[in-house]
């Protein structure tokens, strides 16, 4: 991957991070558009794998962008996506701390939360839509998704246990 492409990748993750309202997974549909649909850096399967690995491994889910960058261009790619996503989270809190208590800060906070919450919801739904739409038409995969969904809704099983268990099951069955 050329330096220019790497720089563009960094800038793309930097720019979308500014719009992360409610988790990086809400941004997944936009990342998919860039790295899979537009530039074909990785396949849809690789994209889903990076989410799955980050959820199964210790650490925050947000590290799926690290795995994604690594699949695109090794360590340099991992740094480009991760640092790009992290920079706004470093800059804006520092700024806000220094601006101090502005007039009507509480009201602004409430407005941002109430106003951006539904947008985050719509973005999250887009991510779900994309993952379902591009899922390979394998009924076993759909069944695993459905069973995971039902178990998480009905029980208090930690999600990571289900991911590891279905990983083990996936290794054993014939796809």
């Amino acid at each position: 991957m050329s330096g220019a492409e790497l720089g563009a990748l960094f800038l793309h993750f930097l720019s979308i991070s500014v719009f992360a309202t409610g988790g990086a997974l809400a941004l997944a549909s936009d990342m998919h558009r860039y790295v899979v649909d537009e530039h074909a850096y990785i396949s849809h399967t690789q994209f889903v794998n990076s989410i799955a690995l980050a959820q199964a491994a210790p650490g925050p889910n947000i590290l799926f962008v690290t795995v994604m960058g690594w699949q695109i261009a090794g360590i340099q790619g991992a740094l480009a996506t991760t640092v790009g996503l992290s920079l706004p989270a470093l800059v804006f809190p520092m700024l806000v701390s220094r601006l101090g208590r502005m007039a009507q800060f509480d009201r602004l906070l409430q407005a941002l939360k109430r106003g951006l919450g539904p947008v985050a919801m719509g973005l999250m739904a887009s991510t779900c839509f994309l993952l379902l739409r591009d899922a390979p038409g394998v009924w076993k995969g759909a069944a695993i998704s459905a069973v995971t969904l039902a178990l998480l809704a009905a029980t208090r099983i930690p999600p990571v246990l289900l991911i590891v268990a279905f990983g083990a099951l996936g290794a054993l069955i014939d796809w």
């Binding site: 210790p58 925050p60 690290t66 996503l85 989270a89 809190p93 701390s97 009201r107 995969g141 996936g170």
Partner: protein
């Protein structure tokens, strides 16, 4: 609630981290124990074990992290680290949150890649990916529950979905138009 709050009523019980390094190790430990949602571990460590923030301050700082641009967990690390040691503290907390778990997840990913020619490894990734999809859908459904009864909120969520998923518009366009309009509306109705 603004950051840099004056000491709260129970300040006698609170303490500051001894060094930026303590912030690094605390957040590395939080991060390594959290599979996915880190919030519960963050609260336990920061409020109950370390006593760096009161429960009330924690919610205030977390709320600010949620609405600031950038992922919430990272913003929270920076707000907390910055409060005690400025930029050095912010970098220490954020580094603790990302560095060791990041190296670990890359080690796991490269292990999978090395053995990806094995059908079992392919199968395991398929299984994990499918389970992840189930997890993401339930997260979205739980988010959706908070919109119950909010007619404007539901309309905004549907519009955002239509714009990003169906019309394939960039997230930035949607947040800058719909997001700004939605916040302006919420600002007007907030009192």
């Amino acid at each position: 609630m603004a950051p840099k709050l004056p000491p709260s009523a129970d300040a006698t019980a609170l303490r500051a981290p001894a060094s930026a390094f303590e912030l690094f190790t605390a957040f590395a430990w939080i991060s390594l124990r959290s599979f996915g949602g880190a919030l519960a571990f963050v609260e336990r460590t920061v409020v109950r074990d370390k006593r760096w923030l009161s429960a009330e301050d924690f919610l205030g700082v977390y709320a600010i992290g949620q609405v600031l641009p950038g992922p919430t967990g990272m913003s929270f690390c920076v707000l907390l680290g910055d409060r005690f040691f400025g930029l050095r503290g912010a970098l220490a907390a954020l580094g603790g949150f990302l560095l060791i778990p990041g190296a670990l997840v890359l080690a796991i990913a490269s292990l999978f890649q090395q053995f990806q020619h094995l059908p079992q490894v392919q199968g395991a990734l398929h299984g994990m990916g499918a389970a992840s999809v189930g997890l993401i859908i339930i997260t979205a459904l739980r988010m959706a529950r908070t919109l119950r009864g909010q007619r404007v909120g539901i309309a905004v969520a549907l519009l955002a979905f239509a714009a990003v998923a169906l019309a394939r518009l960039p997230v930035s366009t949607v947040v800058l138009t719909l997001g700004v309009a939605s916040v302006a509306w919420a600002w007007r109705v907030a009192r």
